[in-house]
């Protein structure tokens, strides 16, 4: 009888413990290929841990607004949020995120690429685990390059890029020498012109937070970009962003395209791309004599909002989704070209992955980007294609609108730079930086 009771009690306790452990976590994420793939493998996570997952997938800008509202008001709608390198240090500093400083030993946190770990930390504490990371690089048509009698160096200069664009430009056959982002928005054309600025020696602010758009480096960068695009770029480039250029490149209408390294898997996929077998890669360019290159650094990372009731389950998910095992799981089912790139050192040491054509160039591009030292002259901020302060998104969106107006031929470079200088200084003064 006693034994029976003891067994009953043990069973009841196990059930209670089991019920307390199995949670349903809600994850907010973006609709990018790697994220969608991860949703497909949720069953593997549930089988391993017993936790269920609810996905809230949103468009990037909607997601940003949605999770910002929720985290700043302690709304508690999400247990995990997909955020980027821009938000992580700011939110970490605000105490809005759970520090990821007690991840398990098997997870091997030291395997995360140093550049990614640095960009997702605040004061040395990691606040988000990278799911995939990216930099930017030159993608070019090897066939057109050969026909033009040129050879792309591994680390080209802007001057060479212009020469190659001129050689490959073929309006009669509807081929533009080069396609680049011009679309307004801090994360679209704003990001591109900021890294272009870096590669011409420009910077957003001096060490006292004074805007630097009145300096010659910015004028040189903008003049070079506008002339290059007006001469060899596609028509209406002022409204082209990542997707528009991807579409043009995949249809064989661009000789070169400088953009996110994650595009490499799209343009080399024969199902979608007409030029899949003739794409080469090179480091993002710099202007002759300038040590900084025009490559950015970005990661889509998973973070836990402070205040969630399901912190342990959320951590288990993050460890699963950003682990080496997850990468192997995807590789096993969908091939190495489809694993989430740019997050772990060990991935780039895997012989099978080294055979993927864009793997090495992606790693080199990521390694060439240092968010803590993004410009030639010293700056008071962290971030390469952005400035990691809360005010930046608003300011940079306005500045990029002024620049896009130049690309569309609605104002001159001098006018745009003057406006950018004034509006940036005004906003920084209002925010108390100056």
């Amino acid at each position: 009888m006693k034994l029976k009771n003891a067994l009953r009690a043990a069973t009841a306790l196990t059930l209670v413990a089991g019920a307390a452990q199995a949670e349903t976590i809600t994850i907010a994420t973006v609709n990018n290929g790697d994220m969608i793939r991860m949703q497909g493998y949720t069953d593997d996570f549930t089988a391993k841990t017993g936790h269920e997952v609810e996905w809230v997938t949103l468009e990037e800008n909607v997601l940003r607004q949605r999770v910002t509202t929720d985290i700043s008001t302690n709304g508690g709608q999400f247990d995990i949020m997909t955020i980027g390198m821009y938000e992580t240090p700011i939110w970490g500093a605000n105490g809005w995120l759970v520090p990821l400083d007690d991840l398990s030993e098997e997870y091997d946190v030291d395997d995360i690429l140093p550049a990614m770990r640095g960009g997702l930390s605040h004061d040395g504490t990691l606040y988000a685990a990278p799911f995939y990371g990216e930099s930017s690089m030159v993608m070019y048509r090897t066939d057109l390059m050969e026909a033009a009698g040129l050879e792309m160096p591994e680390a080209p200069t802007w001057q060479f890029i212009r020469e190659a664009a001129a050689a490959m430009d073929d309006p009669e056959n509807d081929i533009n020498g080069i396609c680049l982002r011009g679309k307004a928005g801090w994360g679209e054309g704003g990001a591109f012109i900021t890294v272009t600025g870096n590669s011409f020696g420009a910077r957003w602010f001096d060490e006292d937070w004074n805007a630097q758009f009145d300096q010659p480096e910015w004028k040189n960068a903008l003049e070079f970009y506008v002339n290059l695009m007006n001469d060899y770029g596609p028509e209406g480039y002022a409204t082209n962003g990542f997707n528009e250029n991807l579409s043009l490149f995949q249809q064989g209408k661009c000789g070169m395209w400088i953009d996110a390294t994650v595009a490499a898997s799209f343009v080399t996929n024969p199902e979608d791309s007409t030029v899949a077998d003739s794409v080469g890669f090179a480091l993002a360019p710099n202007s002759e004599g300038v040590e900084k290159r025009a490559n950015w650094l970005w990661a889509w990372a998973l973070a836990i909002p402070a205040g969630t009731q399901k912190e342990e389950a959320a951590k288990e998910f993050i460890e699963w989704a950003t682990s080496k095992e997850y990468i192997e799981l995807v590789a096993e089912n969908e091939g190495w070209a489809n694993v989430p790139p740019g997050a772990r050192t060990s991935l780039y040491e895997t012989p099978e992955y080294q055979e993927v054509p864009f793997a090495q160039m992606t790693l080199d591009s990521i390694n060439a980007a240092d968010p803590t030292d993004p410009t030639v002259d010293p700056v008071p901020y962290v971030g390469i294609q952005f400035v990691a302060i809360p005010e930046f998104a608003g300011i940079a969106t306005e500045v990029s609108q002024e620049f896009s107006a130049v690309y569309a031929g609605q104002q001159t470079i001098d006018e745009a730079l003057e406006k950018a200088q004034a509006l940036t200084n005004d906003a920084m003064e209002a925010a108390g930086y100056r």
């Binding site: 949103l58 468009e59 990037e60 929720d70 302690n74 991807l246 994650v262 799209f266």
Partner: protein
Amino acid sequence: MARAVTTKRKTLTTALAWAIGLLIFFPILWTILTSFKTEAQAIANPPIFLNFDWTLENYAIVQERSDYMRFLWNSVILAGGSTLLGIIIAVPAAWSMAFVPSKRTKDILLWMLSTKMLPAVGVLYPIYLLFIELGLLDSRAGLVIVLMLINLPIIVWMLYTYFREIPGEILEAARMDGATLKEELLYILTPMAIPGIASTVLLNFILAWNEAFWTLNLTAVDAAPLTAFIASYSSPEGLFFAKLSAASTMAIAPILILGWFSQKQLVRGLTFGAVK
């Protein structure tokens, strides 16, 4: 001669009306066509109009990835609930403004409409905090109330306009016959204003169905309607236009069908009193 000119004018007007109609409908038609293309065909340049291999693959993928019925059900409840609640509040309000106006009635109407002039994002934080406090985040009840409130000014205005067309003497006669206020509203006013109420209901239902600010910002899993369903297929890093089009087609199909069957009432209601 006069007849010939009239016929010619009629043909011209009809052709023009069709042209404008097609122009307005074209983006929807293009979305529907794109939903049957492959991703590569969806971005082809020059664009392919009809000459492509029609595929249902996008619909299959969308079906597999999302629980469409859950989103649809939420849309029905949110749009239906907010419309019903709105009408219950707006009929008495519009009645009092139309038949028992005071000196301030016009001002009140204008003030009500002025609440529509504030960009929604301006009150996002106050509403969000209220929702947290009341435990209404991601709940259908909370969304029904918000959608009702944002559309209420339009409902009151529309009903007020219709009620003004009804002679007050009829209501007076009912009162003389001993009808109570409730009877007057339910048995006299409402039946006479049915076309107006019907078109108000329809328009409000469509507005609530399409509302994509509050429904995205105040929901997560449980109360997310079709607007959230579409938003989950929009991608800034990747070309998934065919899948996005399939999701959009699935989201607008119910409302398109509803609009098709009730177009007579809609047009009649919207042009009610327009000739005066």
